[in-house]
């Protein structure tokens, strides 16, 4: 997957939980539950253990191993959705809702289109569909290429085909595509269409309404507020660094309310609010 996205690279792969030495420290990777292959990094230099969570979520996801809490001295955690308003509903509820939405629009002769991030989110939704039905979907090329990689790794997805190879006209299959296509000609062949977005940001009505998308499904591959707090507690770390997103809120809450030393950590990575998730 990395090669597909980054081009030819020297890549050393390490299984989860198997320590290896790099320079003066011992390193191991642990499931982050974000997308297939995503990992937290545990670094042990003999004196202290640091853990970098990277992007993670704690909710079950059929496409990847579940997040594993790790004891450490210092925890660097993401904070994309560090506000109490971000509490993810159960997938059971979201999927039931999605199926109703899907059926409603095909009954009304409209093609249901779900916009979501093409790496991880798309495959997670397809795996959830497979677990609950024999429904099939059509996907944008960007999603299709990643589907093939997921399937190579043995992840079971619902039946799918490339949207570009399908007939013109209204489709009873769900179309899964990255958000950028909302403004492109890709969707023309399926007109009339009904757009929905799957993202943690959809938790807020105003965000959805400003995006000119009719429907929002709250599905995120990031940790919600409760998960962030739980992870901090389970790590028993003496120092927390928060990076990405609502770092100010999270660190203030940890310092003031939970009595855990927390600081913000600036990184060179930008915040991609709304663009992905």
């Amino acid at each position: 997957m990395l090669e597909k996205r980054l081009g030819p690279q020297r890549i050393d792969a390490h299984p989860y939980g198997e320590p290896f030495v790099l320079g003066d420290v011992q390193i191991s990777f642990h499931p982050a539950g974000h997308v297939l292959g995503s990992a937290q990094i545990r670094i042990d230099d003999g004196d202290a253990v640091w853990v970098i969570t990277g992007d993670y979520k704690r909710d079950p996801d059929p496409t990847c191993q579940r997040f594993e809490p790790i004891h450490c001295d210092v925890l660097i955690t993401e904070a994309t959705f560090a506000l109490p308003i971000y509490r993810w509903p159960s997938m059971d509820q979201v999927m039931e809702h999605m199926f109703r939405w899907w059926d409603h629009h095909i009954r009304n002769q409209r093609t249901p289109v779900l916009l979501c991030y093409s790496l991880g989110k798309a495959q997670r939704i397809m795996a959830e569909i497979r677990q609950r039905s024999d429904r099939s979907v059509q996907v944008h090329g960007a999603v299709a290429n990643l589907n093939l990689e997921y399937e190579k790794q043995g992840v079971a997805l619902c039946p799918w085909q490339r949207a570009s190879e399908s007939d013109k006209g209204v489709s009873t299959d769900l179309i899964i595509a990255p958000p950028q296509v909302a403004e492109s000609s890709f969707l023309k062949r399926f007109h009339p269409t009904e757009l929905a977005m799957a993202s943690g940001w959809m938790q807020v009505r105003g965000v959805r309404r400003r995006s000119a998308i009719n429907h929002g499904f709250v599905i995120s591959d990031h940790a919600d507020w409760q998960s962030l707090i739980q992870t901090v507690q389970q790590s028993e770390a003496r120092q927390i660094y928060a990076t990405h997103g609502e770092t100010r809120v999270l660190t203030r809450f940890l310092n003031d309310h939970m009595g855990v030393a927390a600081d913000r950590l600036e990184t060179a990575f930008g915040i991609e609010q709304g663009a992905d998730q």
Binding site: L83, I85, V204, R205, N214, H215, D256, H257
Partner: protein, 527 residues
């Protein structure tokens, strides 16, 4: 179907059609008390605040114990108090699937809550919300705290009711006027057979004028026509039947409730009369601008203060019915003769005799607060629609100014992905660009596309859908009127601004200064 399900349909569709269909389905399928209460809420008839926003906030603060700042952060991210509480305290995994009516039950609950002591209410609210699904909690709070809006206009609700029970929309609107009591019989009351008086209270199709060019004026026989000023107001029919007084604008909008002052004056009119004319801002002695009229139209409640600061009156120019007799088949001169005997403010009518009179009247129009002249065939009868050979309008040339593009926003519908809505600015005394107009059209599709490309490449800053762009492009705008405004930074408001030309020949420094607008304003009539 219940109100929550209706809300979900309305909230997840942007097309008016889908919303209308949702409403029709709801009105037909829902329990009649549920639909009555829903109509009351959707048409803004219910704004008793049973739960004050400050109380909702206190409830949230209490639940957040000593971390009230955290609630403030949440509120800031969500932007709506009811929604914030709904997200935080509703039962996230409850699905509102029940079809059972819910609004009457809520009404009782809200009433009970409002009787409680604030301390009790504050501490009980979160657990009460936890018995509801998120949409339910949101709606419950929205309905209790006032300011409920879901992007459905009153007109659309009325139209849906009319469709749902297959009745005329105008009749429905009439019957819903004034006090609306939400009870299970509301639909039966609306369905009652239409009475003669109700029919009499409906407007007749408006006769509309065609534009006239200078050459057409020269070809005209001036002795065949009458001339009036073309007033810049709201075209309306003022109707008095045996039982009621109604004021209708074009497009069958009943605007009676917005103009109690006009209704008051109309009580002295003979009954069974229909006058055609213009609603104008100000008084017969001192005209105000169209802007002032808009203030009246936009207010939900017309207060005594507003009636004093923004008075309005009706200027009649035609008589369509008198003593129940339809005069539309009579020639204009006969209708005018009959009108002149009615005691009502009337538009000055001139029998021009020569073309020069028409010209000079048009010259004087701006000074009179008018936007041109109306030319009407003496022998013309009154027919609905834009019929040729009856009435003409000869408008003043628009005022113009060169302005600089500073903000652009994507349009709607066909122009959804094109930045087609422009905010244009002129220079002020401090050499800053201040916005003076928002213009939506005037460019060809090809020009729009070019501009869109340029806008995307020269964006300085984004504010949601709005892009601030480099001050570079100059457009000539035309507008019909100009008035002082406290709402705009520039201090002026333009009437009907639109882009006339893309001035690719000049740069931003050549754009007009605020003094240009000031000068135009003093040329126009005193405001």
């Amino acid at each position: 179907m219940n109100f929550v399900q209706l809300f979900q349909i309305l909230d997840t569709s942007q097309s008016t059609n889908a919303k209308r269909n949702g409403l029709v389905e709801f009105i037909q399928a829902a329990d009649p008390l549920e639909s009555a209460l829903a109509v009351e809420a959707l048409t803004g008839r219910r704004d008793r605040k049973q739960l004050k926003p400050s109380l909702l906030k206190q409830a949230a603060y209490q639940a957040f114990t000593d971390e009230s700042w955290l609630f403030d952060e949440c509120y800031a991210a969500v932007g709506d108090l009811s929604e914030t509480l709904a997200i935080l305290f509703a039962n996230q995994d409850a699905v509102s699937q029940t079809d059972q009516p819910i609004l009457d039950q809520w009404r009782q609950r809200q009433h009970a809550l409002s009787q409680q002591k604030p301390e009790v209410l504050i501490s009980e609210l979160p657990s009460l919300l936890n018995t509801l699904s998120r949409d339910e909690a949101f709606l419950f709070l929205k309905l209790s705290s006032g300011g409920f809006r879901v992007g459905v206009s009153k007109g659309l609700v009325h139209e849906a009711i009319a469709r749902a029970i297959d009745m005329d929309r105008a009749v429905i609107e009439e019957r819903l006027m004034g006090d609306f009591s939400p009870d299970p019989d509301w639909l039966d009351r609306l369905k009652a057979p239409v009475t003669q008086d109700e029919l009499d209270a409906k407007p007749l199709p408006f006769l509309l004028a065609n534009p006239m060019s200078e050459s057409e004026i020269s070809a005209l026989n001036p002795t065949d026509v009458l001339v009036e000023y073309k007033w810049d107001g709201i075209r309306a029919q003022l109707i008095k039947t045996h039982e009621t007084i109604r004021l209708w604008s074009r497009g069958d909008q009943d605007i009676t409730e917005q103009f109690p002052d006009i209704v008051e004056v109309a009580t002295t009119l003979p009954s069974q009369i229909i006058l055609d004319g213009e609603i104008l801002a100000g008084t017969t002695e001192h005209l105000q601008t169209f802007n002032d009229l808009q203030t009246r139209l936009n207010r939900k409640r017309i207060t005594q203060t507003l009636l004093k600061t923004h008075p309005a009156f009706f200027k009649a120019y035609d008589l369509l019915r008198l003593d129940g007799e339809d005069l539309r088949g009579h020639p204009l001169i006969a209708r005018k003769a009959a009108l002149s005997k009615i005691s009502v403010s009337q538009s000055l009518t001139i029998d021009p005799m020569c073309t020069e009179t028409i010209h000079s009247m048009r010259e004087e129009a701006r000074g009179k607060g008018a936007e041109g002249v109306m030319i009407k065939g003496k022998q013309s009868c009154y027919v609905g629609g834009r019929k040729a050979g009856h009435w003409w309008k000869w408008k003043l040339d628009p005022m113009t100014a060169d302005c600089v593009l500073i903000y652009a926003q994507a349009g709607h519908g066909r122009r959804a992905s094109l930045h087609s809505d422009y905010t244009l600015a002129c220079w002020n005394q401090d050499n800053e660009l201040v916005p003076v107009a928002k213009a939506y059209s005037g460019l060809t599709d090809a020009e729009l596309k070019d501009m869109d490309q340029w806008i995307r490449k020269h964006t300085l800053q984004k504010f949601g859908p709005v892009r601030q762009v480099e001050a570079f492009h100059v457009f000539e705008i035309g507008f019909e009127g100009i008035a002082r405004s406290t709402r705009h930074k520039s201090g002026i408001a333009l009437r009907f601004p639109r882009i006339l030309r893309w001035r690719q020949d000049v740069g931003p420094k050549d754009a007009d200064h605020l003094t240009h607008f000031e000068a135009l304003m003093s040329d126009a009539h005193a405001v």
